[in-house]
């Protein structure tokens, strides 16, 4: 009797699994994607006419809106593409999240037209309204001004100026409307402090040029040359460290069990004059684990888990100017009272965990809003891990307050207090602009 019930149960389970598998592998076709903006409407089909696209692009340029090719570069949906229903639904959600995440639009919706006549075909409607393209931000003693969506495309420029930083960054992420990437960066750190002979100020300049391609909306690879110059404060002599580097970047939204986002960034650089390789990788995972903590009437309140990890390696005899800095490198900092030289490492492994609580939304300067966030964290770094690791762990435990300024400011300001197992503490102030 028991065996029969077990057997029947197994048969039912197998049938259920097969049915689920069948549903998963049942292909659908993306028939068309309609893009609706305040300036134009464009329908992208497998046999779309070039003239219609040109008209939409002209309308976008005339009204300083975002061009259709730029919007479509944030989705993997394409007319004629066959996908499983589950893949398609996930990609619809990802497309919406990516478009929201750009900060280029005040509103974004990605809808699927309910299939009535052709059950295997899907029509997607993307509706966006252009947002504020300027970025104003800053950090410790410098300000930043940026402009996104130059020419209605994925092109941006950011300018930095202040006591300890001057520079410019220019990025185009959709060259030729084919997802080619070009990045140019020129930054000068601590130039004014070194002119004023501030103790410990070492002017450091960074130049980099990267060219690459988006392999998918979530993954990009790039290669390019660069140069780091570091001056000694006392003898004013400069050391030059030219390099060539390869970069892989991944940023992906996940929707399994929890809505999450994970990122991965990896770099490999060769410094021919120093004859040194430098490898570095970092990654993060964030997931919302609870929403509406204080009831549905208060906006913007959730608990988020944020995990990050990083690692880097260089030969032990590499110049100190090229070393990894975990003292003030934003999310990869050990936020307790270690001195800067103890956190300047040639190789390391780093891990950090934060539990973040957003508790509402406050309005300042009338329409501007800010989301205050309390967080507790723990950081740990192992210097020179591997067979020669001497058992040192650099750690930090603490808490802080982050003020998240959403559109149109796009800047997070965080102040944290952290202590290590030796009882040395430090207050860290960190500003991060979402580009």
């Amino acid at each position: 009797m028991c065996k029969t019930v077990l057997l029947a149960g197994l048969v039912v389970l197998c049938a259920g699994l097969m049915q689920a598998e069948e549903a998963e592998s049942g292909d659908i076709i993306v028939a068309k994607i309609r893009l609706v903006t305040p300036h134009y409407e464009y329908e992208w089909t497998a046999d779309a006419e070039a003239a219609a696209l040109a008209d939409a692009e002209a309308a976008a340029v005339a009204d300083a809106g975002v061009q259709p090719s730029a919007v479509f570069s944030w989705t993997a949906l394409q007319p004629g593409r066959e996908m499983t229903l589950a893949e398609f639904e996930r990609e619809v959600l990802r497309t919406e999240r990516r478009l929201v995440d750009t900060g280029l639009f005040y509103s974004v919706s990605v809808h699927v037209v309910p299939p009535r006549r052709k059950p295997l075909e899907r029509t997607v409607v993307i509706t966006v309204s252009d947002g504020f393209p300027y970025r104003y931000s800053g950090g410790n003693a410098f300000i930043m001004f940026g402009r996104k969506a130059l020419g209605g495309n994925r092109a941006s420029v950011y300018v930095y100026a202040g006591w300890n930083l001057f520079g410019v960054e220019a990025v185009h992420e959709n060259l030729g409307n084919r997802g080619y990437l070009l990045e140019a960066t020129a930054l000068s750190h601590d130039f004014l402090p070194s002119l004023c002979d501030v103790d410990g100020a070492e002017p450091r300049n960074e130049l980099a040029l990267l060219a690459g391609k988006f392999l998918s909306p979530d993954v990009s690879v790039a290669l390019g040359p660069g140069l780091v110059t570091v001056a000694d404060t006392y003898d004013r002599g400069y050391s030059f460290h030219p390099f060539g580097e390869a970069v892989l970047r991944v940023s992906r939204f996940g929707f399994l069990a929890l809505e999450s986002q994970w990122t991965f960034d990896s770099r490999a650089a060769w410094f021919p004059l120093d004859e040194v390789w430098k490898f570095g990788s970092s990654g993060s995972f964030s997931a919302v684990i609870a929403e509406d903590v204080f009831g549905k009437t208060i906006r913007e309140q959730r608990v988020e888990l944020y995990l990050s990890g990083a690692g880097g390696w260089m030969a032990d005899d590499a110049p100190e100017a090229l070393a990894f800095r975990l003292h003030d490198s934003g999310e990869q900092s050990v936020r307790s009272g270690y001195p800067e030289d103890e956190l300047t490492l040639v190789s390391y492994v780093f891990a950090s965990a934060e539990v973040r609580l957003d508790f509402g939304s406050l309005v300042f300067l009338s329409g501007f809003s800010v989301i205050p966030q309390l967080f507790v964290f723990t950081d740990a770094a192992l210097p020179s891990p591997g067979p020669d690791w001497d058992g040192t762990v650099l750690d930090a435990y603490g808490a802080g307050l982050r003020l998240k300024f959403p559109s149109p400011v796009f800047t997070d300001v965080a102040c944290s207090w952290g202590i290590n197992h030796d009882g040395a503490w430090r207050v860290v102030f960190f500003v991060q602009t979402k580009k």
Partner: protein
């Protein structure tokens, strides 16, 4: 006695004229409101000037006054976003106070709902949490008999459902709007939106 009657009649006439004059002014203000977006800031300012004397007594005037401030905000969206956001917030406050003073007035809720959708779509100020209450109110109350009002309510509820991601409810509301038989801009708008959501 005659004297008394003459005085009473005179006072009543004066009140009547005043009420008539207030209604006319509000009517004129609403007409200016409806033209402000197309005509520019000058019309918006004229509308504010016309409605301002009545915003403490008449909640419809107050709601339109708030709405025209948000229209005025749209003229500053590019060149002075801080001022634009300030105006949006100010306008929204007038509309919210009008609705809270007279929560069972469908006209006020419709003004706030249509304005809230437009503001939420075109600015960083998101009014969805507030206008959700208006949509719930319309769901609970019978639609008005006038096809024009009915179409406007259905259109705006449909737009709200679209933004909330409830496609079935959105398409139902928009299709009912088109079927309402009114020949208004709302129905034309609903037709255009439904066309976008055809296979």
């Amino acid at each position: 006695m005659k004297m008394m009657m003459v005085v009473c009649i005179t006072v009543l006439c004066a009140f009547g004229v005043c009420a008539q004059s207030m209604d006319d002014s509000i009517e004129r203000g609403i007409a200016l409101h409806d033209r402000a977006l197309a005509e520019g800031e000058e019309t918006a300012l004229k509308c504010r000037e016309t409605l301002e004397p009545f915003i403490e007594k008449n909640m419809v005037a107050r709601a339109y006054y708030g709405s025209v401030i948000t229209i005025q905000a749209s003229f500053y969206a590019d060149e002075n976003p801080v001022h634009s956001l300030t105006l949006l917030e100010e306008g929204a406050q007038y509309m919210d106070s009008a609705v809270s003073n007279d929560p069972d007035n469908g006209e006020l809720r419709l003004i706030r709902l249509s304005n809230g959708i437009e503001v939420s779509r075109s600015s960083p100020l998101k009014r969805y949490a507030v206008i959700a209450d208006d949509v719930r109110w319309f769901e609970k109350h019978p639609l008005p008999s006038s096809p024009e009002d009915c179409a406007a309510i259905l259109l705006n509820c449909g737009l709200y459902y679209l933004d909330a991601g409830d496609m079935d409810a959105a398409l139902d509301a928009l299709e009912t709007c088109v079927e309402s038989g009114a020949e208004t801009a709302a129905v034309q708008n609903a037709r255009d939106i439904l066309r976008r959501y055809e296979e």
